[in-house]
Point group: C2
Chain length 283, copies 2
Amino acid sequence: MTTETDFDQATAVQRVGDTGDRFQAEFRTEWLNHGHVNGGFVLAVAARALGGVLAEGSAHGDPFALSAHFLSRTAPGPVEIQTSVVRQGRQLSTGTASVLQTDQKGAETERVRIIGTYRDLDTLSDEVFTTAACPDLPPPGECVSTETASEEMLSQSRLHERLDLRLDPATTGWSNEEGPSGRGVASGWMRFRDGREPDPLALLLASDVLPPVSFDLGAAGFPVTVQIAAHVRAKPAPGWLRLTQRTHNHAGGFLEQDTEIWDSKDRLALQARHLIYLMPFGD
Amino acid sequence: MTTETDFDQATAVQRVGDTGDRFQAEFRTEWLNHGHVNGGFVLAVAARALGGVLAEGSAHGDPFALSAHFLSRTAPGPVEIQTSVVRQGRQLSTGTASVLQTDQKGAETERVRIIGTYRDLDTLSDEVFTTAACPDLPPPGECVSTETASEEMLSQSRLHERLDLRLDPATTGWSNEEGPSGRGVASGWMRFRDGREPDPLALLLASDVLPPVSFDLGAAGFPVTVQIAAHVRAKPAPGWLRLTQRTHNHAGGFLEQDTEIWDSKDRLALQARHLIYLMPFGD
């Protein structure tokens, strides 16, 4: 028997309407990061709704390849997710999800448009020939816990009451007198504080919880995600996740941010790429 | 005055119907690669249709961030593209495109679903802080021209009558007695034979013209693209394009393929990631 954990409650979706393809949920203030609804959290909620719909007509309930385009800024509070099935195939099923909120003028506004291709991750072959290198992080106890952040930062990021995040000190120079390394890297460990083990939805959240790579790059601007492409390559094993993010191409005011998430069995469980706009401060 | 070049003719779309959001085009046999309609070519045609629609309500006619999910195998012949506008913003506009063909039973079948975020690429800031390294290729004259491929291969790949593709010999061992390097890399130069200069649509085509990285990896299976995420980061300068592709994570029968395209001014003009299924031969 499993009990419903905090993350499962926070990402819960409920069917509304007659057609069975529309859901309501809530972006709770307990999951805000720097005062904003985390893009990975939005993706997890939408992916849960779409997965419920696709799993009804197939065995394809696990998010496998997701594309998300961010249209307007998501706000805490009620949200609806309109899903549609595009194709149900033998190995893969694909659908769309629109994340909708009521704006300040009372109009329904689309926040995010998503295409998701789902499968049964348990049917993936076990063959692993990956040449990617598992990140070499100091043990969690030698990393920087978000508990050491300022009271002000933590009050804006209640997410960290729920996540145990340990940042590799080699990538946190931007937060102290060392200053940013200029490499454009962030890495660390993550697990849920309440002991919930990771699954594909948790990977989507985890793909967006490290400090933006622009901090370590020393690049000014508020990072705004334009697009996410995420591949869930394996169901993660129980235990700590290791996360790495890096950028190579900071140009024209935008940068790509590539994320890898490795599980406790050294399996590369998620690859994601974000396209990020560095919005000039004051804009 | 410019004349309409071959690539422009091949990607031409014509409005059909009353609503103005539906287009017809044709996937011509002259652009087939290994007997298949190239995924990058499909993306270029769909992006052209969507760009036409988005440019009507904004200055955003250039593809900037595209997500494509491949649903069923595209065939040569007539095709229709159903577009829709999702949001027109100040800096970015977003829409969708569905690539539709009539299947052998006469039913309309969706081949590809795309979300595209467009902008005016000329308004991107000129600041470039990229740390990515421009590929170090032998000059085109010292690379392997596709003209040296077998008659049989070329008859299946009439695309190469139109593209001047020069492969880095360090990545073509799979085609001769050397054998695959096992690194999972492909790289080379590309330009149109008729002298047409590259633009964002040409970058989309170019993101998919190198041999699959699975050849250099020595991995068996027919590569089938599941998803593409493509970022056009700059309008390419005239001249040769340099293309590189590599994979790091071949696992569970799938691999990611990361593409970079550099222009003649050493600017990183496109970054793309494909999720590829290696379909067992005979499946």
